[in-house]
C-alpha cells in the first residue's frame, strides 16, 4: 500500500509511468510491420508496390488491434489526401469558412463599444481569424469528409512540396509580367516582376560588395569597370580610351596601409589593447598569405552585416511600436532560430541565383533574426521611468526613439550587433556553397582535399576577422565626446593626419618594394600584397600531427568505433525506427502533457504531425536518434566539465574563453579530423556534433552555478553541509533551470551540426536537404524539410522552456 501512497503523492511520476507503459505496449505491437519499418525505405516501398496496404478500414483495424497488431495507418501515417482549395472551390466549403470566421469574430464585435471604429482597430484579428476560418472551412472539413466518405480528394500532403515549387515558379516567371528590352535578341521579352525585383536586389548587393572588394584588392581599373552596373559597357569603354593615362592603372590599397589603419583605428577607438589586436590580426592575415580571400570575405561582411543590423533594428523598432507586428514576427523568429541553413539556400538559389550576392542574401536572412530579437528585448527592457523622463524632457516621438530608447537599450542592441557579425562569419562557409568567394570557399576546398592544417589556418582567419570587427564596432558604439577639450585643428584631427601620413609612407614603401623584391624569386612585392600560398604556413605541422594520430591510434580507434557502432548506435537507431508513429505521438504528447498540460501536448503534437504527414518521417526519426545521442553525451560531458571548472576562478575564466573560441570557429573544421579517424560513419558525425554541442551546456552550467546566491551557500555551510552535499542539495537544484536552458541551446546547436553532418554522409533529413541543394533545388522540398528540422527543434524548445519557466517561478528566480 505504501507504494500506492508513494505514487498518489507524485501525480507527475504516475503520469509518466502510464505514458511509458502505453509507449512500450505500442512498441511491442508492430508485429507484421516490424521488419519493414526498421529498414528506412521498405515500408513506403512496399506500399508503392502494393505489397501492403497503407491503411485498413475500421472493422479490420479493430480486429488487428485485438490480435495485438497495430493497423498500418498507426504504424506509419499514410499519404493522406486533402481537399485542394485552389483547384476545387465548392460553395459549401467557402460558406463554412465564412461562417467559422464570422463565429470567431462575433464576440469581439458584440462587445466592442465603438462599432464604427471596430474594423479599423481589429484588422489583425480579422485577418488572423479569417485565416483560421479558411483553414477549417477549406482544409479540415473537406479533408475529414474525404477521409470518411472519400469523394472530393484532389491532393495529398506528399504533393505539397511540388505545389510549393509550382507556386514559386509561377511567382518568378509568370506572375505580374512586364516587357523588358533584351539587348541579346534585340527585342522585348516578358519578365516576371518578382524576378526583376530579386535581380535588382542581387545586383545592388553585388555592386556594393564589389565596390568594397575592389578598393581593397582590385584597384582602380576594376572600380571603374563597376560602372557597368549603371550603364552598358561605358566603364570598359572609358578605360580603353584612357588606357595610357596614369590613373587608369592605379593599384589597390597595399596591405600595409590597411594594417596601419587598423592599428590607428583600434587606438583611436579604445586604446593600445584594441590597436594591437586589430593590427596583428591584419598582419596574421597578410603573413599567412590569406590577404586576398580575407579581403573578399571582409567585403562581403562589410555589406551584409550593416544591412542585417539595419533591418534588425528597423523590424525590432516596428515590433516594439506595434503589437501586431510583434505577434506576426515572434513565431517567425522562433522558426528562424532552428531552421537549418541549408534549407535557406534552396529558395535563395531559385530567387537570386548563385554568386556573392546570393551568399549575401542568405547571410542577411540568417543574421537578421537575432538582431530583431535583441533589439526588441532591449527596447522592452528600458525602464518605464526612463521613457517618462524622455517624455517629460519634451521629446517628440522621433527623439524619444533615437535619443532615449535605442541608446538606453544599447547593451542588448550591441549584443545583437555582435551576434550579427558572428553569424555573418559563420555563414561565410555555408554561403560559399552558393558561390560566395573568400575564406569560406577556400576552407571548403581545403576540407575537400582533407588538408587539416590549411583549414585550421583559414578558420583562425575567420575567427580573427570576427573578433576584430566585433571589438571595433563595440568600441565605436561606446565612444564618448569630451566637451572640455579646446584643441587646435592639428590636435583634434591628429589621428586622421597620422593616417594620411601612414598612408603615403606605406605607398612609398610599396613603391620601394618594387625594386627591393625585383631580383628575388618571381618578383613578388611583399610590401604590396603577399599572394595566396606565398605566405608562411603551419600546415606541415598540423598535417604531421594528424598523420601521427592516424598511424598510431587508428587500430585502437577502430576497435572503439566498431564497438560503438555495433553495440550502441545501430541498436539505438533500429529502436528509433521501430517506433510505430502512434507510439512516438503517445510519448511526445504524453511528456508534453506532463510538463505543460493540454496546451503543450497539442503544440508538440502538431509539430510531430507536420513531420509525420511529410514523406520524410523515417528520416526525421534518424535525425532524432542522432540528436538524442549527441545531446545526452554533450549534456553529460558539459555539466561535469562545467561543474568542475566552476570550483576555481581561473578555470572558470579559461573554460568560458574556450567556449567563445569554439563557438566562432567554423563548425566545418571539426569534420576533417573525425573523418580521418573514424571514416564515413555515424560516429564521425556524432563526434563532430558533440564537440560543437557541448559548448552551451558547459557555459550554462558554469553560469548557473556561479549565479547561485552567496547567502544560500553560506546558509548551507552553516548547516554543516559537506561540499558534495552543498553541491547536490543546494547548488544544482537552484542552477537547474538555467542548466536546462543550456540543454535547450545544446539541442539547437546539435540539430545545426547534425544537418551539416550530411556533408560526411548520413541518411537523415540533412542528407535530403543537401540533395535538394545540389540537384538544383526544389523550393517546396527544401522549405518543407527545413520546417521538419525546425519543428523538431521547436518541439524540444517548447518543452524545455515551459518547464524551465514553471520551475523558475516556483523557485522564485527572476
Amino acid at each position: 500500500m505504501s507504494f500506492i501512497n508513494y505514487l498518489s503523492e507524485r501525480p507527475k511520476l504516475t503520469q509518466l509511468g502510464i505514458v511509458l507503459i502505453v509507449f512500450f505496449i505500442l512498441m511491442s505491437m508492430t508485429g507484421l510491420y516490424h521488419d519493414l519499418i526498421v529498414e528506412r525505405h521498405l515500408f513506403a516501398k512496399s506500399v508503392v508496390k502494393g505489397e501492403i496496404q497503407s491503411s485498413v478500414g475500421f472493422a479490420e483495424s479493430m480486429s488487428m488491434i485485438l490480435n495485438w497488431q497495430l493497423p498500418p495507418q498507426l504504424v506509419r501515417i499514410p499519404e493522406l489526401t486533402f481537399y485542394h482549395p485552389v483547384i476545387n472551390t465548392s460553395a459549401t466549403y467557402v460558406l463554412i469558412a465564412l461562417l467559422v470566421t464570422a463565429g470567431l469574430l462575433y464576440k469581439s464585435f458584440a462587445e466592442s463599444v465603438n462599432k464604427s471604429q471596430w474594423l479599423r482597430v481589429n484588422w489583425f484579428q480579422i485577418i488572423s481569424k479569417g485565416f483560421v476560418g479558411i483553414i477549417v472551412g477549406l482544409l479540415f472539413i473537406p479533408t475529414l469528409y474525404n477521409w470518411f466518405f472519400g469523394e472530393v480528394t484532389r491532393s495529398t500532403f506528399w504533393e505539397i512540396p511540388m505545389m510549393l515549387q509550382d507556386f514559386s515558379q509561377y511567382l518568378i516567371f509568370e506572375f505580374w509580367q512586364t516587357p523588358v528590352y533584351d539587348p541579346e535578341i534585340e527585342d522585348y521579352e516578358d519578365y516576371g516582376r518578382v524576378r526583376l525585383f530579386t535581380r535588382a536586389i542581387g545586383a545592388t548587393l553585388l555592386f556594393l560588395i564589389n565596390l568594397v572588394r575592389e578598393l581593397l584588392i582590385g584597384g582602380f581599373e576594376t572600380v571603374v569597370s563597376l560602372a557597368n552596373v549603371f550603364s552598358d559597357q561605358s566603364g570598359w569603354d572609358w578605360l580603353n580610351e584612357n588606357k595610357d593615362k596614369w590613373y587608369s592603372s592605379v593599384p589597390a590599397i597595399p596591405w600595409t596601409v590597411l594594417t596601419a589603419g587598423a592599428f590607428i583605428l583600434g587606438y583611436k577607438l579604445q586604446g593600445v589593447g584594441l590597436s594591437i589586436l586589430a593590427g596583428f590580426g591584419c598582419i596574421y592575415l597578410a603573413v599567412f598569405g590569406q590577404w586576398e580571400p580575407a579581403m573578399q570575405t571582409l567585403s562581403f561582411v562589410l555589406v551584409a552585416a550593416p544591412v542585417s543590423v539595419l533591418f534588425g533594428v528597423i523590424w525590432g523598432v516596428l515590433a516594439y511600436k506595434s503589437r501586431t507586428v510583434e505577434r506576426v514576427i515572434t513565431p517567425l523568429l522562433l522558426v528562424a532560430q532552428t531552421f537549418p541553413h541549408f534549407a535557406y539556400l534552396v529558395p535563395i538559389i531559385v530567387f537570386f541565383g548563385i554568386g556573392d550576392h546570393a551568399g549575401a542574401v542568405a547571410t542577411i536572412i540568417f543574421a537578421t533574426p537575432p538582431m530583431i530579437r535583441l533589439t526588441l528585448l532591449g527596447l522592452k527592457r528600458v525602464s518605464p521611468e526612463v521613457l517618462d523622463a524622455g517624455r517629460m524632457s519634451g521629446c517628440h516621438n522621433y527623439q524619444l526613439m533615437f535619443k532615449v530608447l535605442i541608446p538606453t537599450a544599447r547593451r542588448d542592441i550591441l549584443i545583437g550587433v555582435n551576434q550579427v557579425i558572428m553569424q555573418c562569419l559563420a555563414m561565410a562557409v555555408i554561403a560559399s556553397f552558393i558561390g560566395a568567394m573568400g575564406l569560406g570557399f577556400n576552407l571548403l576546398l581545403a576540407l575537400n582535399q582533407l588538408r587539416v592544417g590549411q583549414a585550421l589556418e583559414l578558420g583562425v582567419c575567420i575567427v580573427l576577422i570576427a573578433v576584430v570587427l566585433d571589438k571595433l564596432s563595440l568600441a565605436w558604439a561606446n565612444k564618448q565626446t569630451d566637451y572640455f577639450a579646446d584643441l587646435s585643428f592639428v590636435e583634434r584631427n591628429k589621428t586622421a593626419l597620422l593616417f594620411v601620413a601612414v598612408f603615403f609612407a606605406a605607398l612609398l614603401f610599396a613603391w620601394f618594394g618594387n625594386w627591393m623584391f625585383a631580383d628575388t624569386a618571381k618578383g613578388i612585392n611583399y610590401f604590396y600584397l603577399i599572394p595566396h600560398n606565398k605566405g608562411i604556413t603551419t600546415e606541415p605541422f598540423w598535417q604531421a600531427g594528424v598523420d601521427y594520430m592516424v598511424s598510431n591510434w587508428r587500430a585502437d580507434i577502430k576497435i572503439f568505433n566498431k564497438w560503438l557502432l555495433v553495440e550502441v548506435l545501430m541498436p539505438m537507431k533500429a529502436s528509433y525506427l521501430a517506433m510505430p508513429a502512434i507510439a512516438t505521438f503517445v510519448l511526445t504528447m504524453g511528456v508534453g502533457y506532463i510538463i505543460g498540460g493540454i496546451r503543450s501536448a497539442i503544440v508538440v503534437g502538431s509539430f510531430m504531425l507536420f513531420i509525420a504527414l511529410t514523406p520524410w518521417w523515417e528520416r526525421a526519426l534518424i535525425t532524432m536518434y542522432m540528436l538524442t545521442f549527441a545531446v545526452i553525451v554533450s549534456v553529460f560531458i558539459g555539466t561535469i566539465v562545467g561543474a568542475i571548472c566552476v570550483q576555481n576562478k581561473r578555470a572558470t575564466k579559461f573554460i568560458l574563453l574556450v567556449c567563445d573560441t569554439f563557438q566562432t570557429f567554423p563548425s566545418f573544421i571539426y569534420l576533417i579530423p573525425v573523418i580521418m579517424l573514424f571514416g564515413v560513419t555515424d560516429t564521425s558525425v556524432l563526434i563532430a556534433v558533440i564537440v560543437y554541442a557541448v559548448i552551451p551546456p558547459t557555459r550554462y552550467t558554469v553560469e548557473g552555478l556561479r549565479n547561485v546566491p552567496e547567502s544560500l551557500l553560506d546558509a548551507a555551510d552553516m548547516s554543516g553541509a559537506t561540499k558534495l552535499q552543498r553541491m547536490f542539495k543546494i547548488e544544482f537544484p537552484l542552477a537547474f533551470p538555467h542548466i536546462m536552458l543550456g540543454v535547450n541551446q545544446c539541442v539547437v546547436f546539435a540539430l545545426f551540426m547534425v544537418i551539416i553532418g550530411a556533408f560526411i554522409g548520413t541518411e537523415d533529413l540533412g542528407q535530403e536537404i543537401m540533395q535538394q541543394l545540389f540537384s538544383g533545388g526544389n523550393i517546396g522540398s527544401g522549405l518543407m524539410l527545413g520546417f521538419c528540422v525546425a519543428f523538431i527543434g521547436l518541439a524540444v524548445d517548447h518543452l524545455i522552456q515551459t518547464w524551465a519557466t514553471k520551475r523558475r517561478k516556483l523557485l522564485g528566480i527572476d
Partner: protein, 349 residues
C-alpha cells in the same frame, strides 16, 4: 487664497484602468465605487480628485503604494491621460492639448524627478543634464554651459564626465534634480524622489531640496509614501487612499485634526512637538497685559522652544516675521502638545 493665481488646478479628475473604463464611468454618474469597477475588470487609480496648487506652493501627495498618488501625478504631467475631468495648467486645459502643445509645455514649463532616477545610461552627468535643452533644440555649447551651472547648483562639481553607473544613489538623484531644473521650469514634479535612498542620504537630500526650493521658489507637486517626509517638506499635504483624497490640509491641521480614521492612524505616532509650529497653538492676544519677557517666532517648531516657554510662568508673546506680536502661547497648551496623547487621565478636551 483666491487672490493668488492657481498654477495647477484639478477638477474632478478620474483615472480608471481597464477596458470600457470610459463607458462604465459614464454610467456611474460620478459616483465611483471601487469594488463595482473591480468586478468589471477595471482598476480605479484616481477617484474624483479636485484641488488647486498655487504659485510657489509645495503640495505633497502622500499615500501608501497603490493609493493612486503616482497615477495622479502622471495624469497632471499627462504621462497618462485622465479618464475624465479637467486639469488646468496656468489656466490652460491640459487634457485638450495637442501633442505639439504638450511637448512645448514640457519643454518650457515642466520638470520631473523620478524615483529610480531615470538617467540615460549612455550619457555622462553633463550630457544628461543638458539633454532636455538639446531636445529643445538649443545649441550644444549653450546647453553644456547651462548644464555646468546646474552641476554647480546641485553640488556635483568635478563629476561632470562621470557616467550614472559610477555615481552613488544620492549623487544620481542630484543629477536627476539638475536635469529637471535645466529648462528652468515653473512647475516641478517629484515622484518619490528620495524613496530609493538610504535614510541618512535621504535626510541630506531633503535638506538640499529645501535649500533649493528656498532659492528657486517653484510650484511643486511632490509625491511620497513617507509621512515624516511629507510633514517636513510640505506647505500642504494631500493624503490619498484607494484613489480618493482623504484629506488636503496644512501639516499642522492634519496632525491636529485628522479628518478620517485612516489619516488618524498616520498622525498617531507623529511626535507633535516636532511637527507643529508655535503658530498652531498660539491664542489671540486677549485682555491680559502680563507678558513674559520671552519672545518666540510663530514659525518656531514647538520642540525647540518648549523648554523656555515652560520655564516661564507667564504667557509668552508670539512674533511674526516682521517682529509684530500676533498672539500668545500658554504653557498649558505646550504641555498638552508634549504629553497630551500619552496622558492616562480622562481628557476633557
Amino acid at each position: 487664497m483666491s487672490d493668488q493665481q492657481s498654477v495647477i488646478k484639478c477638477d474632478s479628475v478620474y483615472k480608471i484602468f481597464g477596458k470600457n473604463a470610459e463607458k462604465m464611468l459614464q454610467n456611474a454618474n460620478g459616483k465611483v465605487v471601487a469594488e463595482e469597477f473591480q468586478k468589471a475588470g477595471c482598476v480605479v487609480g484616481v477617484n474624483n480628485a479636485s484641488f488647486e496648487v498655487n504659485k510657489g506652493e509645495m503640495l505633497v501627495v502622500m499615500g501608501l503604494s497603490g493609493s493612486g498618488k503616482s497615477t495622479l501625478l502622471r495624469c497632471i504631467s499627462r504621462l497618462t491621460d485622465a479618464t475624465a475631468g479637467n486639469i488646468y495648467i496656468e489656466g490652460e486645459d491640459l487634457t485638450s492639448m495637442s501633442d505639439k502643445e504638450l511637448i512645448e509645455l514640457r519643454r518650457n514649463k515642466m520638470g520631473m524627478v523620478f524615483q529610480s532616477f531615470a538617467l540615460l545610461p549612455h550619457k555622462t552627468v553633463l550630457e544628461n543634464i543638458a539633454f532636455p535643452l538639446q531636445v529643445k533644440g538649443n545649441s550644444t555649447k549653450d546647453s553644456i554651459q547651462r548644464a555646468k551651472d546646474m552641476v554647480d547648483l546641485v553640488g556635483l562639481t568635478g563629476r561632470e564626465n562621470y557616467f550614472p553607473r559610477q555615481l552613488s544613489g544620492g549623487q544620481q538623484q542630484r543629477v536627476g534634480i539638475a536635469r529637471s531644473l535645466a529648462v528652468e521650469p515653473d512647475i516641478w514634479f517629484l515622484d518619490e524622489p528620495f524613496s530609493a535612498l538610504d535614510p541618512l542620504i535621504r535626510k541630506e537630500m531633503q535638506d538640499e531640496f529645501l535649500r533649493l526650493q528656498g532659492v528657486l521658489n517653484k510650484t511643486i507637486l511632490f509625491v511620497t509614501h513617507d509621512f515624516d517626509e511629507a510633514l517636513r517638506l510640505a506647505d500642504r499635504i494631500a493624503i490619498m487612499k484607494d484613489g480618493i483624497i482623504e484629506q488636503l490640509d496644512t501639516p499642522a491641521n492634519i496632525v491636529l485634526n485628522p479628518a478620517t480614521e485612516y489619516v488618524r492612524k498616520f498622525t498617531e505616532d507623529v511626535p507633535r512637538e516636532k511637527v507643529l509650529k508655535i503658530k498652531s497653538v498660539m491664542e489671540p492676544v486677549g485682555d491680559e497685559k502680563d507678558f513674559s519677557d520671552l519672545r518666540v517666532s510663530e514659525d518656531a517648531i514647538i520642540e525647540t522652544v518648549a523648554e523656555a516657554v515652560l520655564a516661564d510662568p507667564k504667557s509668552v508673546p508670539v512674533l511674526n516675521a516682521n517682529d509684530d506680536i500676533v498672539g500668545v502661547v500658554h504653557s498649558s497648551k505646550v504641555i498638552h502638545v508634549l504629553f497630551g496623547e500619552n496622558s492616562t487621565l480622562e481628557s476633557n478636551a
